[in-house]
Symmetry: C2
Subunit: 510 residues, 2 copies
C-alpha cells in the first residue's frame, strides 16, 4: 500500500477501483472532483465505464447523474459519455465525446454559473439521498494520519460534495506531487440561511482557511489508489491573431492607467482558458505593468512565466491546469510556486462578493456578440453547445472591467463573431464593458444600445461584415416594431445564422 | 426660511429653484436623487424644464445627461423628457413620456443593474468633471446644524453623486416628515480597488452606518426649498388573476418548508413593484409563515400590512414608495415604522454580497420567458423598452430562490408570455429557478433545457398556446442546426413575435 494513506481506519477501506465502482448503484447522483483537466478522479470513472458495458449486456444500462467542479478529463468525461453512463451532467464540460452526446440529446446537461454550484447542491436541488447526493468520488494527493486530506490539483466543489454525499470514495493519486501540501486554502460557506458570514478574503493572495479537507470519515466506503496523470492541453505559443487581440487589451489598460482609473499594478486579473488568454498573459509579461496579482479560476502556463519574471506576485485560482511541460517546470520549482499559488474552493475563487470587493479585470472568450453587446459564450450555430458558461458569468457580472475577446471571424471568414442578434445569450447588455477582436476594442461603458452598436460594428466587427451589420441597424431604425432603443427586425434578427445554415457563409452571395 | 435648514453656511446658499437651475450648464452630467416616486428632486427639474423652453427659443436646446437612483416622478422624468432636455438617461426609468422618447430614439438610455450604478460612476464612466459628474441635485428632509443631512424617502445612489459631483444643489423638501430622521442606515463602498472591506450587513435588519449624509459642504452651490409630495401609484387591491399567481408561489414555499429547505420564517424576501408583488404580500400576510423579514429595494403598501400584523418583523430597502393612503397611514404611526423600516443606499440594498449571504427569495415580474428559461424583463414587442432591468438582476443572480411571475397572456389572450425565443434577454437560463403564471409554477431547479421546456410549457404557458409551443420544440428536435441541448429553429425562433406584428395575435389563425 502506498505511503500516501496514513490513516489507519482508511487503510482498511483500500480496494480496487472496480470494487469501489461496484458500490455505486445504478441511478445514483454522484459528485466528483475535477476542474479542467486537473484533480478529477480517474480510476473509478474508468471502472464505471467498463462496468457500464457489463450492465448494458444485462439489459440495465448504467445511468448516473454526474456533478463535478467544472470540466474534467478523458478518464471521466470521455469514457463515461462514450458508454452513455452519464444521464445528467452538471455544471460544465469541455469534452468532445460529452459534447457530442449532449448535442445528440443523449445526455441531459445543466450549464450553470460555477459560483452557484455549491449553494444549489446545498439547497438540495440534486439527489434524494439523506445528505442529498448518493456518492462523492474525490481525488486527493494524500491521506494524513489524522484523516485530513491533502487536496489534489484542483479544489472545485469538493467541499460541497464531501459534505452532501451519503458515501465517499477517495482516489489517492500518487502522480500528484506530495509537495502540493500547503498550496491550498480551504474555506467553506455555510448552508444555513442566516448564518453566513462575510468571506474573509480581502486581497487576492489572502490565506484564511485550512491546508486540508476535513471530512466525516465514517462516510468513506472506499479508498482507491491511482497514478494517472492530470490531462491538460499542451501549451501553444500565441499566433499573430491572438497577439493582435491581446495588444488591443494592453492598449486599453494603458489608457486606463493614463486616465488614472488603474494603477500600473492593474487590479486582480481573471483570465479564461485558451490561446487568446495566454497571449494576453504573454503580453502582460512583456508590458509596462508590474506587481500584478491574479484572482482567477485556472492557473495556465502563461502565469508561470509571469511568476518567474516577478511581474505577477501571486495567483489565486481553483485549478492548476498547465501543460505537461508546464507541469515538469512546476514540479522542479514547487517549493517557490507553492507559496505564490493559492488554490481555493470554486465558491471562493468565483465568489461575487470577493470579485466585486477586489475589483477584478475579467477577460473571457466569446462565441458571438450582438450589435447591442449581448454575448453568447456557449452555442455554435449549426453545432449546438460547445462547453458552457463556466465562471465567466461570475466574473463578468461583478468585476470592475468585463472584457470579452475573440477573433472577428471563424471558418475562414464565413462566420462573423458579431451578429445582429446572438443565437444564445449568456451575458447581457447590462454587464458587458468591452468586446475585443483583432480589429479593435469596442468600449461599451456609459453607452446606450445604439451608441454601443456603432462602437461594436466600427471597431470590432470584421470589415467585410460591417456593411451588412449597418444595413441591418439602419433598416431596423425605420422599423418601429422593437422601438428605437435597441432596434431590431424580428424576421431578420437571425438572418446571418440562417444564411450560414443555408449557404455555408454568413456573407451574402455577391 | 424654513426651520429645516439649520446650518449657517448653507442658509446663505438658499435661492429659488430657477436660480439654482440656471447654475447648471448646458451639456452637464447631473446625478439626481430618486428611486421610484420617492425622494427625487422636484423643484429644480421643473425649473430646468421651463428653462429648456427659453433655451430652445434661443436655438440652443438644453441637453443634459441625467443619472438617478432608478425611476423618479413626473416632476423630473416627465417634464424634462417632454421638453427633450434629457439627452442621456441612466440607469432606470418608469415614466410614460421618457419611455416614449427613448423608443422614438430621442433619449439615449443605458439600462443598468442598479447595484452597479455606484461603481460605474466611481470608475469614471460618466462625466468629465474634476470628480466625474458636473452636478448633483439631491432631495433631503433637513439640513442639521452641523451640516449633516437627514435623507429623504429614498437613498438610491445619492452617496455616490454627492461624492462624485463637482457641485451640489440640495432640495430641502418640507413635505417629507421630519421624523424620517433615524430611519436610514448610510454605508458607503470605497472607490479604491484593493481597499474595499466586507459589507458588514449580516442580517436584513442590521444597522451599521450613519443616520445622515455627510458631504463636502464646500461643493454646495445652492439650497432650494420645496414642498412637493412624492408621487407613487395608488394601491390597488389584488385581482383574481394576481391572487392565483400569488397562490402558486405560496404553495411552492409551503412545499419548500415541508421539504426542510426553508423554515416557516422563510428567508429575506425581495419583491418587485406592482400588483402581483402586492398580491404575494397579501397572501403572505394571510398565510402560515411568520416572523418574516424583507431585504428588498422598495417598501410597498403590502409591507405596511405585514408590519402591522407582526408577520413581518422588519423591512430593509432603498426606497419608501407607498400609495398616498399608505403615506397617511405611515405618517400616523411613523415612530413605530421608523424602527421597523431601514432605508439604505442602493449599492447596499442590492449588493450581491449581502443578497447571497442572506439567501434571499427574489420575486420579480417578467414580460416574456422562453421555453428554456431565459427571461425578458424589459422589452415589449411592437412597443420597445418598457422600464428597465432595475434591481431584478442583482437579486435574480444571487438569491437562494429566483422566481419570475406574470400573467400567462396579455392583450386579451393575443400575446403569450411564454415564447420560443425571448425577443430580449435580461436574465439567462443560468440563473432562473421558477417561472410562475396563473396556470402554475414551473420549477426549473436541477433541470436541463429540455426538461425545463416541458416544465414551462406544461405548467406556466396558457393552454391555448401549449400546442404551438410543443409543435416548435418537437420540430426543433428534428432540426440539427442548434443541437439537441436547447433545440431551436432560427428561421422560426421569433415566429410568435412576427405573427403578432402581422396579425395582431401570437395565435395562428384557424
Amino acid at each position: 500500500m502506498s505511503n500516501r494513506i496514513l490513516h489507519k481506519g482508511l487503510q482498511a477501506k483500500v480496494m480496487s477501483a472496480e470494487a469501489a465502482a461496484a458500490l455505486i448503484p445504478n441511478g445514483a447522483v454522484v459528485g466528483m472532483s475535477g476542474f479542467t483537466g486537473a484533480g478529477y478522479p480517474k480510476a473509478v470513472p474508468i471502472a464505471l465505464a467498463k462496468r457500464a458495458i457489463d450492465e448494458r449486456l444485462k439489459g440495465k444500462p448504467l445511468k448516473l447523474d454526474i456533478l463535478t467542479g467544472a470540466s474534467t478529463g478523458p478518464e471521466q468525461d470521455s469514457v463515461m459519455s462514450l458508454v452513455e453512463s452519464q444521464r445528467f451532467r452538471f455544471p460544465y464540460q469541455g469534452d468532445a465525446v460529452t459534447r457530442e452526446k449532449i448535442n445528440a440529446g443523449i445526455i441531459e446537461y445543466q450549464d450553470m454559473h460555477l459560483s452557484h454550484v455549491g449553494s444549489m447542491v446545498r439547497y438540495g436541488y440534486y439527489g434524494k439521498g439523506k445528505n442529498n447526493l448518493d456518492f462523492a468520488v474525490i481525488e486527493v494527493t494524500k491521506i494524513n494520519e489524522d484523516g485530513t486530506l491533502v487536496p489534489s490539483s484542483s479544489c472545485g466543489a469538493n467541499n460541497v460534495y464531501f459534505e452532501h454525499a451519503d458515501k465517499i470514495i477517495l482516489e489517492v493519486n500518487s502522480w500528484q506531487d506530495e509537495r502540493l501540501e500547503g498550496m491550498h486554502d480551504i474555506l467553506s460557506v455555510s448552508a444555513v440561511h442566516g448564518s453566513r458570514q462575510p468571506i474573509p478574503i480581502l486581497a487576492a493572495d489572502d490565506r484564511k482557511g485550512s491546508k486540508y479537507w476535513s471530512i466525516d470519515l465514517s462516510k468513506v466506503v472506499a479508498v482507491v489508489e491511482s497514478a494517472h496523470p492530470d490531462r491538460n492541453a499542451p501549451f501553444k505559443a500565441p499566433e499573430e491573431m491572438h497577439k493582435r487581440i491581446a495588444q488591443h487589451i494592453l492598449d486599453f489598460f494603458d489608457g486606463e492607467v493614463k486616465a488614472g482609473r488603474l494603477s500600473k499594478h492593474l487590479t486582480p486579473l481573471q483570465s479564461g482558458v485558451g490561446n487568446i488568454a495566454n497571449a494576453v498573459l504573454v503580453g502582460l509579461n512583456e508590458g509596462p505593468f508590474d506587481q500584478m496579482i491574479s484572482y482567477t479560476e485556472v492557473i495556465q502556463d502563461g502565469m508561470l512565466d509571469m511568476l518567474d519574471s516577478g511581474k505577477l506576485v501571486a495567483a489565486s485560482a481553483t485549478a492548476f491546469s498547465v501543460s505537461p511541460e508546464g507541469q515538469i517546470r512546476f514540479n522542479k520549482d514547487i517549493d517557490r510556486y507553492r507559496k505564490q499559488i493559492i488554490l481555493r474552493p470554486q465558491e471562493i475563487s468565483n465568489s461575487p462578493e470577493v470579485i466585486r470587493r477586489l475589483g477584478c479585470i475579467a477577460m473571457n472568450g466569446f462565441v458571438e456578440a450582438d450589435i447591442y453587446g449581448h454575448v453568447n459564450s456557449t452555442h455554435i450555430v449549426g453545432k449546438g453547445i460547445e462547453n458552457g458558461i463556466g465562471g465567466s458569468g461570475d466574473f463578468a457580472r461583478n468585476s470592475a472591467y468585463t472584457i470579452f475577446m475573440s477573433p472577428a471571424t471563424a471558418k475562414d471568414g464565413k462566420i462573423s463573431a458579431i451578429v445582429p442578434f446572438a443565437s444564445h445569450i449568456d451575458h447581457t447588455e447590462h454587464e458587458v464593458n468591452g468586446i475585443v477582436t483583432e480589429y479593435g476594442f469596442a468600449d461599451l461603458r456609459g453607452k446606450s444600445p445604439k451608441e454601443k452598436a456603432r462602437e461594436i460594428i466600427d471597431k470590432a466587427a470584421a470589415p467585410e461584415f460591417r456593411p451588412f451589420l449597418w444595413d441591418y441597424v439602419k433598416r431596423a431604425m425605420k422599423n418601429p416594431s422593437a422601438g428605437l432603443h435597441s432596434p431590431h427586425m424580428f424576421e431578420e434578427a437571425f438572418s446571418f445564422h440562417t444564411r450560414y445554415l443555408q449557404t455555408g457563409s454568413m456573407l451574402p452571395r455577391k
